[in-house]
């Protein structure tokens, strides 16, 4: 009989503590303050428990579940993203559903993200993928008063369903070719040209289909059509969350799969193409947006493109660049959505006019975030880009670097539109009251971007270790 050892429990400690919180929330439906406190406790516990395998890697449940440094790193960013979103969600007045239900959906998504990066079995990967996606559809549609919420949610669900079905089909074809669903067996097969021929049509079709599913989650072009609609429909607190956490999971999966499929030219060139398309399309489409959430949605497509550029290299240094950029991206994006949520009712750029005169604190932090998104020193965005560019230069991918550079310049233009509205234009509107908690969170994000920009020794080192350099 198969018995579960303690070490196996400790490998999934974080996931268990989160699920326990979700169960408590759904069972007792506590009031808002209690729910927030409980969730924070759960997230803190999960943060500590996921760090447990940092010293020795755990390979549990007959090799289907793996907890190592890379996984711990990715899980912890996702958990921090969850905590930040929770603070904004707390003050969100647009949400009419019961708070505990919304938060439990959020927790399920976090669990899904955590399982994706740890899963070493295709079925488990797929299940976690669904666990990450299905609550997201519900979250986007969770503003019942707005018709846009329903539309965005439905669009997201239809696109998402198709994408996961495609990916599942890709998995089944891969199973047909390799004869196993476990990553270690697949890796073994791919490293022996006698077992698997990389140029066989079956392998190529299955890899293409798997890539489609992942690209959907990463909101990469040409599978990005749901992104602007879904992120516009969702309330800023949720939009920030679904623009970050699925990306952390998706890039985690991409890094892991890269270590198996790096030999396949099709695999890498598909990522390469998606990277160039996403960067260029995301930035060009963002220029003319007047809705801040739509603008940020296109900007997330562009940022996915930057990270895909590092992923398309298939090197360990590229993985490190992704990990670092993901960290910076998490703070930048959540910070931007946080401030959008606090400072505007309908997320229009016009609503930010004269924000610097009304609420200098918010406009200053937003300026820092926007500069970081553009990639200017002394903020984290530059350091992230620096690693991506230098990873690309190591592989002599000059075209990729060129496209990235041009896109950074284009991105300045639309980020500067927000800056212009906040600082150069006069606007009516009242002073915004910010709760001390929100103030602390935003100040923390701003400080974090500065730390990631000038004092990144420690974080850079951890990311290097996580990437296995």
């Amino acid at each position: 009989m198969y018995s579960i050892a303690f070490s196996e429990i400790s490998a999934v400690g974080g996931e268990i503590s989160l699920l326990a919180v979700a169960a408590l929330l759904l069972l007792f439906r506590p009031k808002k303050p209690v729910a927030v406190l409980l969730t924070l406790l759960g997230i803190c516990a999960a943060l500590l428990l996921t760090l447990a395998p940092w010293k020795n890697t755990l390979d549990v449940f007959s090799g289907t579940y793996h907890s190592g440094k890379l996984e711990a790193y990715l899980k912890d960013i996702a958990l921090i993203a969850g905590a930040i979103s929770l603070f904004l969600l707390k003050d969100d007045k647009k949400i009419k559903l019961h708070f505990s239900e919304i938060v439990s959906l959020l927790i399920f998504m976090l669990c899904g993200a955590m399982i994706i990066v740890s899963a070493r079995h295709l079925i488990l990967t797929w299940l976690a993928f669904e666990l990450l996606s299905v609550p997201a559809y519900a979250l986007v549609g969770s503003i019942p008063s707005s018709s846009k919420g329903t539309e965005g949610g439905l669009k997201y669900a239809v696109f998402g369903g198709t994408a996961s079905a495609t990916m599942l089909y890709g998995f089944s074809l891969l199973y047909g070719a390799v004869g196993s669903l476990s990553y270690s067996n697949i890796q073994f097969a791919f490293s022996n040209s006698e077992i698997v021929s990389l140029s066989s049509p079956l392998i190529i079709i299955s890899l293409v289909m798997i890539i489609v599913g992942i690209m959907f989650k990463l909101s990469a072009a040409p599978f990005h059509y749901w992104v602007p609609d879904a992120l516009e429909a969702a309330s800023p607190s949720i939009a920030g969350f679904i623009s970050v956490v699925p990306k952390i999971a998706g890039f985690g999966l991409l890094i892991i799969l890269n270590s198996i499929f790096y030999g396949s030219a099709v695999w890498l060139s598909l990522i390469y193409a998606a990277s160039i398309l996403s960067m260029t399309f995301g930035n060009l489409a963002a220029i003319h947006q007047n809705n801040l959430q739509r603008l940020m949605a296109y900007s997330t497509i562009a940022h996915a493109g930057y990270m895909l550029a590092a992923a398309s290299l298939g090197t360990q240094y590229g993985s490190f660049a992704i990990l670092y950029y993901l960290t910076v991206y998490t703070f930048m994006n959540l910070g931007a959505f946080y401030i959008i949520g606090l400072s505007s009712e309908h997320s229009r750029i016009d609503e930010l006019k004269g924000l610097s005169a009304r609420t200098p604190f918010l406009s200053f932090c937003m300026a820092v975030i926007l500069f970081s998104l553009t990639g200017l020193p002394p903020f984290g965005g530059l350091t992230g880009k620096l690693f991506i560019i230098s990873a690309a230069l190591m592989k002599e991918q000059h075209l990729l670097v060129g496209v990235l550079i041009i896109n950074s310049v284009i991105s300045l233009y639309y980020y500067a539109r927000i800056l212009k509205a906040m600082y150069f234009e006069k606007g009516e509107g009242e002073k915004i009251d910010i709760s001390p908690i929100s103030q602390t969170v935003i100040a923390g994000i701003t400080a974090m971007l500065l730390i990631l920009g000038i004092m990144w020794q420690a974080i850079g080192k951890i990311a290097e270790i996580a990437a296995g350099i």
Binding site: P377, V409, Y413, F424, I454
Partner: protein, 503 residues
């Protein structure tokens, strides 16, 4: 510690300025800049003019695992520019005394800008350099956008105004800096350190050198600004408030030529020899193009802006003439003149922008055609204008002449095609004299324009900003030897370094 103080004092000041009462901000900024100027004096006293290398070197660990360190130092090339930065910042604070809008923000950003500008000139670690290089853009963007002219559409339907000029300036510079970032990361990947002194490699492939040289060069050329990357400059100058124009022309433009001499010349000597004539050609184009455009302007500030383009052309021409064509022997005068011209242009153009600001504060326009006979209404002002404009057109006895003369002397010595450049540049000098004199003729001499008959003369605060610059202009014009002593050793070693390693 001296150099770090020059960075830290303004930086600290910019933070403190955010928290003091609104009334105390201006005195605070004044005290901060005066203290910084005093802190810079030891540099002039203890600088050993016989040494060509870096002095006042400070090295500290920053992010050692990635080869990033805090390394600052000055040599004969950067010392004048550091002093210029510190001096002009003080003058700009005095010139900004009439700012009333968001006082805290303005002075805080200005002090941040001063810190970043100083950093660009003293950083030897390329990561540090890049941080300062871009950091400078942020305050500049806001200073032009918020305190510049309000947005409007002019008679030809073109967008004008501070926000437009600010974003144009920002985007232009960002394109260049990202190209430079690629080059920096490329060299970092090869060497594992950001200390540019360790990036020299005599065996570097010439094609590779030329590519990297070009990446750096475009970044710096946009800053100079070199034709055809110059179109941001007139907009930025015209829309910016006076003090911002002063630092823009006085300090920021120098970063372009400084960068080329510091990095292009030092890192890629072979490519530099190959591209020298190209730099010279662009220098000559700048001279002629700038003067012709200046000739056509009726807006006084735009005229001064275009004159900057032409004067930076002399710097480029001078620094391209570092060896004689054919024989390959060293020529020092060109580079020496170019560096001196950087300093001179910094002081003279600063004066000119301050003077344009004076008339704009009184008449609320800068249209030359609507001025006239100012010599009668504003005699003291006209005196200062005379000094600045004659220095700018290169009158012997004033500093502009020394710089241009050295440049032309060096270029002539370089022989070959450079002699043709001298001829064209000489034509440029004639046109330069032409538009300067024509401006004085139209705005200051002749019949009084009733529209500006009642303008009050220049006041004490404005005189205080102009006098130190005026004294420097006369001093260097009459007795340039002390100034040249500071820079000559470094210039010689730069030229020798190129010729040693060069083709």
């Amino acid at each position: 510690m001296t150099l770090s103080l020059l960075l830290l004092i303004p930086l600290l000041g910019s933070v403190i300025a955010l928290f003091v009462p609104e009334k105390a901000v201006k005195p605070l900024a004044l005290v901060i800049t005066i203290v910084t100027l005093i802190a810079a004096i030891p540099l002039l006293i203890y600088f050993d003019t016989s040494i060509s290398g870096f002095q006042f070197l400070e090295e500290r660990y920053w992010i050692p695992t990635f080869g990033i360190n805090y390394i600052v130092a000055v040599d004969g090339l950067s010392l004048p520019l550091v002093i210029l930065t510190v001096l002009l910042s003080l003058i700009c604070i005095i010139a900004s005394w009439n700012i009333e809008k968001h006082v805290r923000g303005y002075f805080s950003l200005f002090l941040l800008l001063q810190s970043a500008m100083t950093g660009v000139f003293i950083a030897l670690d390329m990561f540090l350099f890049y941080v300062f290089w871009e950091l400078m853009l942020l305050p500049m963007y806001f200073l032009i956008g918020i305190w510049g002219a309000p947005p409007r559409v002019d008679a030809d339907g073109r967008t004008r105004g501070g926000p437009y000029a600010a974003i144009k300036f920002f985007i232009y510079t960002l394109i260049g800096s990202l190209l430079m970032l690629v080059a920096i990361l490329w060299l970092w990947n090869q060497n594992g350190t950001f200390d540019f002194r360790q990036w020299t490699d005599p065996d570097r492939n010439i094609q590779f050198q030329v590519i990297l040289w070009t990446l750096f060069f475009i970044a710096f050329a946009i800053k100079i600004p070199m034709f055809p990357f110059h179109t941001w400059l007139p907009d930025a100058h015209v829309e910016a408030p006076t003090a911002v124009s002063v630092v823009l022309a006085g300090v920021l433009l120098k970063m372009g030529t400084y960068g080329i001499i510091r990095f292009n010349y030092f890192l890629f000597p072979d490519a530099t020899v190959m591209m020298a004539i190209t730099v010279g050609v662009f220098g000559v184009i700048n001279i002629i193009y700038g003067t012709l455009c200046a000739m056509a302007q009726t807006d006084m500030k735009r005229l001064v802006a275009y004159s900057s383009i032409s004067h930076m052309g002399y710097v480029m021409l001078g620094m391209s003439a570092f060896m004689s064509v054919g024989r390959g022997s060293a020529v020092y005068e060109g580079l020496l003149g170019g560096t001196l011209q950087m300093w001179n242009h910094g002081t003279i153009t600063a004066m000119m922008f301050l003077l344009v600001g004076v008339i704009y504060d009184r008449a609320h326009h800068r249209d030359i055609t609507r001025l006239g006979g100012l010599a009668i209404t504003m005699p003291i002002y006209t005196g200062f204008v005379g000094l600045a404009f004659f220095a700018s057109l290169g009158l012997p006895g004033l500093s502009g002449f020394i710089g241009e003369a050295l440049v032309l002397l060096g270029t002539w010595k370089a022989a070959g095609i450079y002699r043709i450049f001298v001829g064209i540049a000489a034509v440029g000098i004639v046109i330069t004299a032409g538009y300067h004199l024509w401006l004085i003729h139209r705005a200051f001499l002749g019949k009084e324009n009733p529209e500006c008959a009642k303008l009050p003369d220049i006041n004490l605060r404005e005189i205080i900003t102009l006098v130190p610059l005026g004294l420097i202009v006369i001093w260097i014009g009459v007795y340039p030897a002390p100034a040249l002593r500071y820079i000559s050793a470094t210039m010689q070693s730069i030229v020798d370094n190129i010729l040693q390693a060069g083709l």
